[in-house]
């Protein structure tokens, strides 16, 4: 049974009070409508979190983090999602920081961690390639050592925010002869490097958040290698495993469902609010029940009682079920909004009607079952786990 300790309740209250006083109202309204945060929103919010001491909920204290447990981190993310507020910067804080702390040199930690915390630099993630999606380890972007530099040639794709990021952490192939997982290294590359170009990808929602990144003989100081050469695959797996606390997105989906409920209380084309429609109510109740169950699944799998293998499998459970529920709620929102919710933004953005961005947000939500390991791949992982562990 899920009970929250007094300490956790106190933390939750403290976080909620902070969000209440510090979160910019305009930003909150835009996120509630379903818009993306702007780059400057992410920077200023990360700074506020950092100044409060909460810049890195998932880092140990000695590196400037909060030292919170998985459950405390989850409480923090729940409150951010419910507000809704942006999470701490995903590439700087959730992904790169822990890799540097665990595998980076002391000099790299000293140089980078403060800048990641304060959002002085923004990183993006260079993993996927045109030929390497689900089969990430087949990646081909090559880094060849020349003296104290690597020369990088190749291409990354689906790179979120590459068009404004300052740096990119990349998986590159440093040993073409090795077995595919074993010749990969983890490299930090300055986006301003000569030979590096970024091309936008307009996604299905008509917006620009994704990019292709091309490397044409980009020279990277060898000191930007994280950890050991040819061990990058291990670091990448470690990084992806760290997304556990946010992967189910229960709080985000709850917030979207609450918003759907708010919109459904308004009158529709036949004059009666959708919230009075029996079929609509049944759907909302079903979603609420499934979300409550997923919430308990998440707490159980993140708790101390589960084994390491259960935790790995659990991440796949949370990813699949979490994205399915999220997409169902985003579908409900688009239905509640009607044609007004299917507008594209004009030259000066969306109009006044808060329902307008819901369609593009819904379209973008279709990516949730594709990115971060497609749900089909998650099911392969799960099937293996079930067969391996069932007596």
């Amino acid at each position: 049974m899920k009970t929250e300790s007094e300490a956790l309740q106190a933390l939750r209250a403290e976080i909620r009070a902070f969000l209440g006083s510090e979160l910019d109202r305009g930003l909150r309204a835009r996120l509630r409508r379903g818009e993306f945060p702007k780059p400057e929103d992410l920077v200023s919010w990360q700074r506020k979190l950092w100044q409060r001491g909460w810049g890195a909920p998932n880092w140990p204290r000695e590196f400037g983090g909060t030292g919170w447990s998985d459950i405390e981190q989850l409480v923090f993310l729940e409150e951010c999602s419910a507000a809704p507020a942006p999470a701490p910067h995903v590439f700087n804080i959730t992904m790169l920081g822990p890799v540097l702390i665990r595998f980076g040199s002391p000099a790299q930690c000293d140089a980078w961690l403060p800048k990641l915390l304060s959002a002085e630099v923004l990183f993006c993630q260079g993993f996927s390639e045109p030929g390497s999606g689900s089969d990430l380890a087949s990646l081909r972007t090559a880094a060849v050592r020349e003296g104290d530099e690597y020369v990088v040639n190749g291409q990354k794709i689906w790179t979120t925010s590459a068009h404004y990021a300052d740096w990119i952490f990349c998986l590159v192939r440093t040993d073409p002869a090795a077995r595919k997982q074993q010749g990969i290294s983890f490299l930090l590359i300055d986006m301003k490097s000569p030979g590096l170009t970024v091309r936008p990808i307009i996604s299905i929602d008509g917006r620009h958040s994704l990019n292709e990144v091309f490397f044409d003989s980009v020279r990277v100081p060898a000191s930007n290698l994280v950890g050991e050469e040819n061990r990058g695959w291990d670091y990448a797996r470690f990084l992806l495993g760290n997304e556990r606390a946010s992967i189910a997105g229960v709080a985000r989906t709850r917030e979207r469902l609450a918003y759907a409920r708010e919109l459904a209380a308004r009158p529709t084309r036949n004059g009666r609010p959708l919230s009075q429609d029996a079929e609509h109510r049944v759907r909302v109740m079903r979603l609420e029940a499934e979300l409550e169950a997923l919430d308990r699944t998440q707490y159980r799998l993140l708790g101390d009682a589960s084994s390491p293998a259960e935790r790995v499998a659990g991440a796949s459970v949370l990813k699949v079920k979490g994205t399915e529920l999220y997409q169902r709620v985003m579908e409900l929102l688009v239905e509640v909004a009607g044609p007004v919710g299917l507008r594209l933004p004009g030259a000066d953005g969306f109009g006044e009607d808060p329902r307008e961005p819901l369609g593009v947000a819904h379209l973008y939500s279709r990516a949730a079952s594709i990115y971060g390991g497609a749900n089909e791949v998650q099911k392969n992982i799960l099937a293996k786990h079930v067969f391996d562990t069932t007596p």
Binding site: D135, R266, D353, I370
Partner: protein
């Protein structure tokens, strides 16, 4: 209702498919068309006019082909496949409204112009819903020799480009009637927005708009006409959705054949093969939904018509929406790009669902009909 011979109908659909492939390819002709603003009819409109499609369901006496609902579906399937954005369907439904509700004089003036494509029309049916505001009615009252229409309409398609609007409005006594309203006049104000499928819509404010009552003031005839146009609209939209789903399944299979991961084509993975099989099953259901929609149009009993039409909408909306979601999923990241057509089928389907109310509205109709 008459219809074309099987051969004529098939050759019309073939000619249409070929013309659209040549001049409205996704990455070229269609893309150019999409760059046009809300005030102009898209180039594809001329192409459809050139094929004589505006007269598809207009009797030969008025210069049309005298086709039926099956012919309409063949055309709509092609338009769905090619992702056509044009006021063709609205103009076609308007012609049917004129045919069913108009006076002989109105038929003689409006139908030949609609058939030739000289006249384009859009339907303004739904009432505008201001946020949190209660429903805003559209009312019409006699003024001088004609009528004045006041009110608001939400999300009317192609308003900026078409010549006339067919506006439903309430008259004294509470009955609904249709009015032919010139779109460019001081009494019609609009703000155009583009929807995710690329079509232009506008919220209309009608403020003393001049209009002409469609047909003699005969409430029974008007409401019968309204019902039959709605049944036709569902039949046409089911077919459009079907055409989109068929094309998306083809693209998905081609992608799975060529895309390799872990050293083999994606199409070799049983999980994905089963998904394709499920998509095919859903597609067969969508085909049958289109048939149900034809039965609705042809039904003699009005209650049966409503029931079949709602069943058609329910099955088509759920089956096609799911097929199109899976088409994106199986394309992986590429399915999420604006560059590929596959996502645009889904974008169009969202708009079709919003227009008709999709599965929830169909279910509500069925619950009401069977109560």
């Amino acid at each position: 209702m008459t219809e074309l011979s099987r051969e004529d109908s098939a050759s019309l659909a073939d000619a249409l498919r070929k013309a659209l492939q040549d001049r409205y390819a996704f990455a070229t002709g269609r893309k150019q068309d999409m760059a046009a603003g809300p005030e102009r009819l898209p180039a594809v409109w001329q192409l459809l006019c050139g094929l004589g499609l505006n007269g598809l369901m207009v009797p030969e006496a008025h210069g049309g082909f005298g086709g039926g609902v099956s012919d309409l579906q063949r055309v709509q399937r092609e338009l769905g496949r090619a992702l056509v954005v044009a006021p063709w369907f609205d103009s076609m439904l308007s012609a049917q409204a004129v045919l069913r509700a108009g006076t002989p004089e109105q038929q003689q003036t409006l139908l030949p112009a609609l058939v030739s494509g000289k006249l384009s029309m859009a339907l303004a049916e739904d009432e505008a819903l201001g946020l949190a505001a209660s429903r805003q009615a559209t009312n019409a009252s006699p003024e001088g020799a004609g009528w004045r229409v006041d009110g608001a309409k939400a999300s009317v398609f192609h308003v900026g480009a078409v010549d006339r609007l067919l506006v439903s409005a309430t008259v004294a006594g509470g009955e609904t009637a249709w009015f032919v309203v010139p779109s460019k006049q001081a009494g019609v104000r609009q703000r155009s927005c583009r929807l995710v499928d690329g079509s232009w819509t506008a919220d209309l404010v009608l403020d003393g708009a001049r209009g002409e009552l469609l047909g003699p003031p005969d409430a029974a005839q008007q409401s019968a006409a309204l019902r039959s146009v709605r049944l036709l609209a569902v039949a046409g939209r089911c077919a459009e959705a079907l055409g989109a789903a068929e094309a998306a399944l083809e693209m998905t299979v081609q992608h799975l054949r060529t895309r390799k991961q872990f050293g083999q084509p994606l199409g070799d993975y049983q999980a994905l093969r089963h998904r394709v099989a499920e998509m095919y099953i859903a597609l067969e259901q969508a085909r049958s939904a289109a048939e149900l929609a034809v039965e609705a149009v042809e039904a003699i009993d009005p209650a049966e018509a409503v029931c079949r039409s709602a069943q058609a909408q329910l099955v088509a909306a759920e089956a096609v929406t799911w097929v199109l979601q899976q088409a994106i999923q199986l394309h992986g990241g590429m399915g999420m790009t604006e560059e590929l057509a596959v996502g645009h089928y889904y974008r169009r389907m969202l708009v079709l669902n919003a227009l008709t109310g999709g599965a929830p509205v169909a279910l509500a109709q069925l619950v009401q009909a069977k109560a």
